[in-house]
Amino acid sequence: MLKDKLKAIFIFALYFIILMMFFSQSSASATPDPTDQMRPFLKKVTDALADPALKTVPKKEQGQRIIKIVRERFDFQEMSKRVLGHQWRNLNDKEKGEFEDVFTQLLQYAYIGKIDEYAGQKIEFTQQRIKGDRAEVQTLLVDKAKSIPVSYIMLLRGEQWMAYDVVVEGVSLVRNYMEQFQEIIRKDGYAGLVKQIEEKIDHIEKENKGS
């Protein structure tokens, strides 16, 4: 009698242990799905862009609002690091932070112009691929007469996929800036680069005030 009871408890415990092992293992090995994380994020961005209330605030604030949402899934530090290439290693932490700020500001201003252009274009998810801790989520921006292929290149940080590059029709944004920045660094040095980006930001700011 007692023996049977013990046996039952033993079997139950065994089941329990196997079950625990199964669960713990599956949660450790499963990587989150990049498309599943990208989909609600892009929905949030397009919703914000389509929001009529956005157009009522000044241009600078429009850009700030959008970039705040974009920050949720874009790693601007990783982006800055890749854009600078080997120059990044020569910077101290303070300079790294400063560069990230000024580069993010440049992107923010570059995209202010896009806010007016957005007219409810749909985003279709076509494919994704994962390679270790990197992933590419491929989408199509569907416009009236054409669709533009846009890929997001992402890095796994903990449980979150964070984007650090956008590839539009085969042209990577990071690689494009990288070549421009390297030529400027070669001619005018790193300080010259920061100065030129700041000048560009000033220029766009003045243009926005004019319009």
């Binding site: 570059a110 691929r129 009236k144 007469a145 292929p149 042209v171 990288m178 030529e183 680069l193």
Partner: protein
């Protein structure tokens, strides 16, 4: 004895052909954004641009022509014709290029792509009413393939020469521009044999250009306004776009491929 020689030769021939095909496969998979090598610093030195001062002058000239002539014309044109009709006109011109594309794929040893381009031509000319609709992509799921004479030259081992900004036509390289000239000649000789004067061909290519710009209004200004050095930005975009073999819908080597 002779027969043995013949066999050896045919073996060698097929081996070298196979090598060519393998070589093309390598080019196709050269750039993977998920590899850190594609972000390495040497990317910048890849571009050989010895006549940069000259190119910059032409770039500025093209920029003015674009902003003062082509863009206003294309904007007016886009207001007259709705976008779906302009899309059809774009398809029509693209379809005219398929035979030349097919021949180029053949010359590069890409036999499958060559056949695809040719079947696209047949399907779209008949089923797509003279190529106005792209039935091959939409109904038959045969995606567009790239096959330019510049590419063919590259496969044959002819180098880029150097980066060249062509007046009115924009970014190119010495090799690619020669290829474009050859293709333009082949296309006009193919379709307009009754009239080979310069003005007619120039008009046809002009319409093609205006139509293309009208479908991509604002794209030029966008890249320009976002860049610190627009000249380098466009040079880099030219080489990056050329390196992609097709739109990203077809992956050369998908690790995980989920169709959603």
């Amino acid at each position: 004895m002779n027969l043995k020689h013949l066999r050896q030769w045919s073996l060698r021939l097929s081996l070298s052909l196979a090598l060519v095909v393998v070589g093309i496969g390598d080019i196709a998979g050269a750039r993977d954004f998920l590899n850190d090598e594609s972000y390495e610093d040497q990317a910048a030195t890849e571009v050989y641009d010895p006549i940069e001062p000259f190119n910059r002058v032409v770039f500025t000239f093209n920029d003015k022509v674009f902003l003062w002539v082509l863009n206003p014309v294309a904007t007016g044109y886009s207001k007259v014709l709705p976008s779906d009709i302009r899309g059809c006109i774009g398809n029509f011109f693209y379809n005219l290029g398929e035979p030349v594309r097919s021949v180029n794929c053949l010359l590069q040893g890409r036999f499958r792509d060559s056949g695809l381009a040719l079947s696209r031509f047949a399907i779209n000319t008949i089923g797509g009413v003279f190529g106005l609709a792209d039935a091959a992509t939409e109904a038959f799921k045969i995606n567009r393939v790239k096959g330019t004479l510049g590419q063919t030259f590259s496969v044959w081992g002819i180098g880029d020469g150097f980066y060249l900004v062509v007046p009115l036509l924009g970014p190119s390289t010495l090799r690619d521009f020669s290829g474009d000239l050859g293709e333009a000649l082949a296309t006009t000789a193919w379709y307009y044999p009754w009239d080979d004067d310069f003005v007619t061909s120039a008009t046809v290519f002009g319409i093609q250009d205006i139509n293309y710009i009208s479908l991509h209004l604002g794209a030029y200004e966008d890249i320009k306004s976002m860049s610190i050095d627009p000249y380098v930005a466009f040079r880099n975009a030219y080489f990056q776009a050329r390196n992609k073999t097709s739109d990203h819908l077809v992956l050369p080597n998908p690790t995980i491929n989920i169709n959603r």
